[in-house]
């Protein structure tokens, strides 16, 4: 049985514990991260795949770029990272249970547009070297791609590997 889930504004927003971006906004977010000092980078954990970048950290440490989505934890669905301003129009405990039944690797980041469910439990410390490589790959893919039929990262994520910094 399939149930369509709609979203409505929250009466009060969740406190952000993460930020996610897709497409061009993800590249902008990655570029912004590269401007941060090393100490600030160490305060963030990240997970990325083609067209998707997710960062976790304290609210004050989360970077901003135009088009990002901030994620927070609803106390009634602690395994999910949801858009801070929206709540599903189905009982959230059931929503969490349904998602966990499909992807049992909490926490799960839930994005709405595009619709993405991404496990981020393997998020790792962000390094500038890996960010640059990821950005280069993303920019290259956007330049050469004419269209894509794949959903950028509906289930799989690739953790930012903890590479030693050069120099």
């Amino acid at each position: 049985m399939k149930i369509d889930v709609g979203w409505r504004p929250r009466p009060a927003p969740l406190s952000p514990v993460g930020v996610a971006a897709t497409g061009v906004a993800a590249i902008e977010l990655g570029l912004r991260l590269c401007d941060l000092d090393p100490e600030s980078l160490t305060r963030l954990k990240g997970a990325a795949t083609h067209g998707l970048l997710i960062l976790l950290g304290e609210e004050e440490r989360l970077p901003w770029a135009d088009g990002v989505v901030y994620l927070g934890r609803d106390r009634n669905a602690p395994s999910l990272l949801l858009p801070t301003t929206l709540v599903p129009d189905v009982p959230i405990e059931l929503f969490e249970r349904a998602l966990m039944a499909r992807v049992d690797r909490p926490p799960l980041a839930v994005l709405i547009s595009p619709p993405i469910i991404a496990p981020v439990g393997m998020a790792r410390r962000v390094t500038r070297d890996y960010l640059m490589r990821w950005i280069e790959t993303e920019v290259g893919a956007r330049v050469t791609a004419t269209s894509t039929s794949e959903d950028p990262a509906s289930e799989a994520t690739e953790s930012l590997r903890n590479q030693p910094r050069e120099g």
């Binding site: 504004p9 009466p11 952000p16 004050e60 440490r61 901030y70």
Partner: protein, 388 residues
């Protein structure tokens, strides 16, 4: 001399703003002290030592040009340390009178730390000052010009007699030590406090004019809403005494006057939360009254209105005001580090906007501030996409 209420409200708003500058997460406390002064009520601040309570009171007292008295009470504090020594000359004449110069009876704003440690003699004399603005001791009978007394304590008293004394403090503000993520802001703010001393931006005369206007406010529209709110609170087990219910009207009226309204309405109900006696009950009250308080709005007291109501409009106003301040604070001189720091502040505001509001929810003011922030950031970086 006739005082223009609009000018008085603007001045007090400015005083609140400068008093809160450099303090972290104490803006709400500063605003509530100012509100209580206009409402002629008193404030009880509950929180551990070293959480900026006295600094907040001191700064708003200076910013409003008030005569200020501050004391840390202990179990052995003598009444003369608070109210003044016995006048020796009068004593020789057989009169027990108090020399009050520079002491609490002559203060316009007072801060009493560890207020519940005071002796029975001190608390009984204080009761008269708090309730009636009258100092009575021995042969001394003196009208006090106290606008607001702020008492502080680590915890609420459990003793019944002290609880009765505590009930004279209508406004309750609970403070915690600053959370870890805010420590850098605390260190930065604390370091610059002495470098940016507070100067008077308002006056007691202006506060008095606002207080007089609050007494004249037309409460006909808001009174049924207050009654509805009190019924709701009592229905969920929150003890809201008849005295509190009556007195909270003063806070509502004062909030309306500071917002430029002569007829208090739904946007002015939010001080009710600060009149709820305990922290847990305040939290329950916010949930229970969420719909009623959703339209809460006060440009002079944005942090307190938002904290009380968790309302969207109050939150938007506060963030928009903060955004305008940061935008206006662009460093004209200085190098890349100053610009970098400014950029981080702008991004912080943008983050609060995007994390707190959908595009559809964002009021026009806030949307406009966001657009200005995006434009300012764009000037420093590569072009970015529109959010829409």
């Amino acid at each position: 001399m006739q005082i223009d209420l609009g000018a008085a409200s603007s001045s007090l708003s400015e005083a609140i703003s400068v008093a809160g500058r450099g303090l972290v997460e104490r803006e709400s406390l500063v605003e509530m002290i100012a509100l209580a002064a206009v409402a002629r009520e008193h404030v009880l601040v509950i929180g551990p030592p070293g959480t900026g309570k006295s600094e907040a009171v001191r700064r708003i007292a200076v910013a409003t040009g008030a005569l200020y008295f501050e004391y840390l009470l202990g179990r052995f504090t003598e009444p003369s340390e608070i109210f003044g020594p016995v006048d020796i000359r009068k004593l020789k004449e057989g009169l027990v009178e108090t020399e009050t110069s520079g002491m609490l009876p002559e203060a316009e704003v007072a801060f009493l730390d560890e207020v519940f440690l005071g002796s029975t003699a001190i608390l009984n004399t204080l009761l008269s000052i708090l309730n009636e603005r009258m100092f009575r001791r021995g042969h001394t009978r003196m009208k006090c010009g106290l606008r607001v007394c702020v008492g502080a304590s680590n915890t609420l008293p459990e003793d019944d007699s002290l609880a009765a004394f505590a009930d004279r403090f209508l406004v309750r503000v609970f403070v915690d030590p600053i959370a870890d993520p805010m420590l850098e802001r605390l260190l930065d703010g604390g370091w610059t406090l002495d470098l940016n001393p507070v100067t008077a931006r308002s006056s007691i005369e202006q506060i008095d004019a606002l207080a007089a206007a609050a007494v004249e406010a037309d409460m006909s529209e808001v009174r049924p809403l207050i009654a509805q709110a009190v019924r709701t609170l009592r229905s969920i087990g929150i003890v809201f005494s008849d005295r509190r219910a009556v007195k909270v009207q003063r806070l509502v009226a004062a909030a309306a006057v500071l917002a430029g309204r002569t007829r208090p309405g739904e946007p002015d109900l939010w001080p009710l939360i600060f009149a709820v006696p305990t922290r847990d009950q305040q939290s329950s009250a916010r949930d229970a009254l969420r719909d009623l308080l959703d339209r809460s709005n006060n440009a002079s007291l944005p942090a307190a209105a938002e904290e009380a109501s968790l309302g969207r409009i109050a939150r938007a106003n506060r963030i928009a005001a903060a955004g305008r301040v940061v935008l206006a604070d662009r460093p004209l001189e200085g190098g890349p580090e100053q610009l970098r720091a400014w950029r981080l502040k702008l991004e912080g505001v943008a983050r609060e906007i995007d994390a707190g509001f959908t595009v559809e929810q964002s009021p026009a003011d806030l949307t406009e501030v966001r657009a200005r922030i995006v434009e300012a950031l764009r000037e420093q970086t590569a072009p970015v996409q529109s959010r829409d």
